[in-house]
Symmetry: none
Subunit: 211 residues, 2 copies
DNA sequence: ACGTCAATCCCCGAATGTGGGGAGGTGGCA
DNA sequence: TGCCACCTCCCCACATTCGGGGATTGACGT
C-alpha cells in the first residue's frame, strides 16, 4: 500500500516517516509540509492513501481533501490532526475524508487505522466517532417514529408559535383567543412534554421535530 | 462494568453470556430474549451498558433503544446485529445507540467495543463507520458560512445552559456567578442575536447550531 | 343519558424575565 | 499610558411566566 503524508511539523513528519517505513506492506511514497503541489505529487507518486494534517501553511488540509476527493475519488484521505472540534470534523468528513484520527493515537492504532481505511473501513478516533454518532442523534427526525405526546391541535399550534419566539400575549392575538387560554394550553404542553419552562419546551420541540 | 444483553437467539445469547462472563472487569447482570420488560429490568439490574439485538419478538431493538435512551440517557446502548443496511444503522443511531457492531465481529473486538463505549467512544464496525462517513459526504453543502455573532466565551456558555432549559438562577449557580451577571450576559446575547426573549434565543441557537 | 375530553375563559400569588441604567476590575494592545 | 473588550456585580421598574385552583360549552362515544 502506497502512502503519502502531508504534515507541516518537521519533527512529526520525520517521526511518522520512520514509523511508516518500518511497517511491512506499507510504502511511504512521499512526505511533504503542505499539499500545494498535490496534483503533480499524486500523479507521480500514485498513493493509495493520504495522511493529511489540517493546519498547514499555504493550503488547508480540508480544502486539499475536498479537491483531491473530487479529482481522485479512489484515493483514501485520512485526516491526522490534534483538533477534535466538531466543526473541523464535520467539514473534513463532508469534504471527503474517509477517516479522522487524532495525533495522540498510539502507533499501532495508527497502523490499524491505515489498514482499516484501506480495507474499506472508516478509521475514527473514539472521541471523534462519538461526536459523529451524536450528530445523528441530534438530527431532525427523518423517518423515525418520533414520540407521540398527544398534543391537541390547538396545543400544537401554540407550541409552534412559541418556537417562533412569540409571547403568550402575541400567541393569544395570533390565535384569536384569550391570554388565559394560551396559558391553559401551555400548562397542558408542559405536562405532556415533561418540561417546566418555555425554553425547555422550545428546545424539546426543535430537537424532536415536533414543529 | 455491568452489562445487560438482549438477544432472542438462545445459542447466540448463551455464547455471548459465556464470553462476557469470562472477562474480568465485566459483569453480565442479565440476558433476555427481548426487551419487553426493560423498564423493570433496568431499574433492578442497573446496567452500565446494553448489548441490543435488532430483530426480536415483541419489541424491536431500535424502538427499545429509543425508549431507554429517553428514559436513561446515561446508559450506553450498543447495537449488536447481523444487519448492515443503512436504514437500520441510521435509525439505530438516531434512536440513541452509541455504537453499532456486527455479529461477525471477533470476540476480542467485541470486548474492545464494549470497553470503547464505556470509555466514551462509539464502537462502529468498519463497514458501519464507512457508511456513516459516507452519509456526511452526501450531506448538502453544510453551512460553512455560519453567521458569527461574536459571542464571548461566557456569553456562549450562558446560551448553552439556556438551551438546556435552565433558568437565570440555575445558570448563575452552574457558572458560579451572580444572577445579575447572567442577566448582563443575556442582555448582550439578545443584542448580538437580535432577539428579545429566551425562546427566540433558544430557537435561534438550535436552528443555527450555535450550541 | 352520561361521562370524557377538547376548547375556551377566569383569578390569585409567587417566581422569573426584560430594559434601562451604573460601576469596578482585569488584561491586552497601541 | 490610555483605551477597549471582557467579566463581574448592583438597582429600579415593569412585563411576563408559572402553578395552583375553577368554570362553561359542545362534540363524541357507549
Amino acid at each position: 500500500m502506497r502512502i503519502l503524508l502531508y504534515e507541516d511539523n518537521p519533527a512529526i513528519r520525520d517521526a511518522l516517516s520512520v514509523l511508516l517505513s518500518g511497517i511491512p506492506g506499507l510504502e511511504l511514497v512521499g512526505a511533504f509540509p503542505n499539499p500545494l503541489q498535490w496534483e503533480r505529487q499524486l500523479a507521480s507518486l500514485r498513493p493509495d492513501l493520504i495522511l493529511m494534517d489540517i493546519e498547514m501553511p499555504g493550503l488547508d488540509g480540508i480544502d486539499a481533501t475536498r479537491a483531491i476527493h473530487a479529482a481522485l475519488p479512489d484515493v483514501n484521505v485520512v485526516i491526522l490532526t490534534v483538533f477534535d472540534e466538531e466543526d473541523k470534523i464535520f467539514r473534513a468528513l463532508c469534504a471527503g475524508a474517509v477517516g479522522y484520527v487524532l495525533k495522540n493515537t498510539t502507533p499501532d492504532r495508527l497502523i490499524a487505522a491505515i489498514e482499516d481505511a484501506h480495507a474499506g473501513g472508516a478509521p475514527l478516533s473514539p472521541s471523534i466517532a462519538r461526536k459523529a454518532v451524536r450528530f445523528f442523534q441530534q438530527l431532525p427526525p427523518l423517518k423515525t417514529t418520533r414520540p407521540d405526546y398527544t398534543l391537541t391541535a390547538r396545543e400544537h399550534e401554540t407550541l409552534r408559535y412559541l418556537v417562533e419566539g412569540l409571547s403568550y400575549k402575541m400567541i393569544a392575538d395570533r390565535m384569536n383567543i384569550s391570554y388565559e387560554t394560551v396559558r391553559t394550553y401551555m400548562k397542558h404542553i408542559y405536562e405532556k412534554l415533561h418540561v417546566v419552562s418555555m425554553t425547555e419546551a422550545v428546545a424539546k420541540a426543535l430537537r424532536e421535530g415536533l414543529v
